[in-house]
Structure formats: structure tokens, C-alpha cells
Symmetry: C2
Subunit: 169 residues, 2 copies
């Protein structure tokens, strides 16, 4: 995909300023790296755990919130994979991996928690997930990682700032 | 999401080597940047063109291939967004944005091309898409962009090499 768009972009180079052109190339490279890693994570979650990234992400949200989260909170936090949050909840509930119970003081709001089985299942996946990431990224020297971390942070803050303005237009 | 996983990761820091920990942090930062930008692109494609990233991506593949692509080729190239490729093709066909015709020498294989209307429609979206990217990433100094481009390339090559081995296990 990235290569395809890159070529599309090249066809339009003449009308771009050099700085513009750079932004597009950078975005496509960022996207390629993420897609490459994500595609392999998806494949391995499927092969080894018969699971998906949205399910993994859903459970990761709950693992950091031992007191549970409402469905609204989970939706809000699941930026990456979106997915059908209530569909995922029903699946995980049917498999005994989460519990869902109405809040005592507001019975229309459902509180979701990992069950003991859910915690065990998530921890197993999380360990493998870590290993896969280390396998893919661990070869990068520490100095490179440090520079990447700081430049990506800069990129993130820049994107956040400008696009918040942009969405007000 | 990234913040959530980052916290989850922190709980497990004790069992991680420093280099392992770095890989995870790097992956989560990469994912946060990509998700942030992708989320905003999705929102704007929806608001301004009533369209989606998979549709944009599908059309981008065709725009670089004036002789057309088979459905198989399009599927293969659409790494990023996956989506339901034949569902997208039916929609775009119904809207007159692509044409689908069987190959003369193999009538079971369908060749897909952008129509003139499809080209106009894609070019409009691609121009806006460029502007959005430039708005979000254009603030990064050229020196930073250069370093990012080269380190992300290194990261990509490393991930490709190790995970190809990994999938043979």
C-alpha cells in the first residue's frame, strides 16, 4: 500500500513544495512500519491464540484497570483498533474472560472486569506479544531507539496541536 | 490505547531486560503516532467526502495502475486497511467510480480500473489528504524528518528480516 501511494505521490511531485513532499513520504514510511508490524501481530494472535488485535486491546484496557471500566470508557480508550466494542464484550463474556455487572448506583451503566480466567489468558498473550515485538524491533541499537523515541514524541505533539486547530475549521 | 498498554507494560517491567522494554515502548509510540494521524484522516474523509480509508486506499492502488489491476492484486496491495475488498469494489462500481471487466484470455479474472469520474473523485480526495498530512507533519524541521526517514527505514528492514524468520518457526 505504502509503495502504491508513494508512487501516486511521486506523480504529483511537481506541484508540491519540498517540505510538503517530505511530510507525505514521512507519513507513508510511518504507516508502512506500523502496518508491517501490525499485520504480523494480527497473524500471530490468530494463529497462536485464535484471537484478534481488538480483543487483545480490549483486554489490555481492563488489565490496567483492576476496578473495572464502563463500556463507554473502554470505547474511548480503544483508539487503535476500533472494532465493535459491544460485539467483543459479548464474545469475551461468553468465553468467561470478562464479567459484566450493572453499577449499584446506576443500573443502566455496565462495569466490565477481567475474570481470573481472563487475566490468565491475557497474561499469556501479553507475554507472547512482547516477545514478538522484541523479535521485530530488538535489533535496533539503543542510540537509534532513543532518537526515534524523542523524534516520534515531537511528531506526535506537532500532529496533535495542528490537527486540533484543523478540526475547528 | 497506547497509554493503556504502556501502563500494562510498566507492570511487567521487572521481568524485562532494558532492551526489551525499549522495543515495547518504541512500538507503542509508533502505534500512537500512526493511530493519531489515521484517526484524523478517517474522520476527515468521512466528514468531507463521506468516504473511508479502505476506499481511499483501494482507489490509490488503481490510480497508480492505469492498465488496471485484478481483484487479487488489489487485495495483496491493500496492506493497511484490509477492509472487505469485494464489498468496496461493489460500492465503487455502483457509484460509477471504477469499471470491472473480465480479462479477454481468462474470463474468470476481473480487471478493475478507475473510470474518468473515479479519477476526478480520487484526485480531489488525494489533494485534501495531502493537505491534511502536511498540516499534521509539516511543522517538523527538515533535519528531524531526514533522521526519522532513515531510522524508520532501518526499523522496517529489521522487522521484515526477523519476522520472516519468525513466521517459519
Amino acid at each position: 500500500m505504502s509503495e502504491a501511494l508513494q508512487v501516486a505521490v511521486k506523480d504529483q511531485e511537481t506541484r508540491l513544495h519540498e517540505s510538503d513532499h517530505q511530510s507525505l513520504k514521512l507519513w507513508l514510511r510511518l504507516l508502512t512500519c506500523t502496518s508491517l508490524i501490525e499485520t504480523r501481530l494480527r497473524a500471530r494472535l490468530r494463529e497462536q491464540f485464535d484471537s484478534t488485535l481488538p480483543r487483545f486491546d480490549f483486554m489490555a484496557q481492563l488489565q490496567r484497570a483492576p476496578d473495572g471500566l464502563t463500556m463507554g470508557e473502554i470505547s474511548q480508550r480503544m483508539m487503535v483498533s476500533g472494532g465493535n466494542v459491544s460485539g467483543i464484550a459479548s464474545q469475551l463474556d461468553a468465553e468467561g474472560l470478562i464479567s459484566r455487572s450493572p453499577l449499584p448506583d446506576n443500573r443502566r451503566t455496565v462495569l466490565v472486569k477481567l475474570t481470573a480466567k481472563g487475566k490468565r489468558s491475557f497474561n499469556k498473550m501479553a507475554e507472547e506479544h512482547e516477545d514478538w515485538i522484541i523479535e521485530m524491533l530488538g535489533g535496533l541499537p539503543k542510540a537509534d531507539v532513543d532518537v526515534l523515541m524523542s523524534l516520534l514524541q515531537k511528531l506526535k505533539l506537532g500532529a496533535q496541536a495542528t490537527s486540533e486547530t484543523g478540526s475547528d475549521r
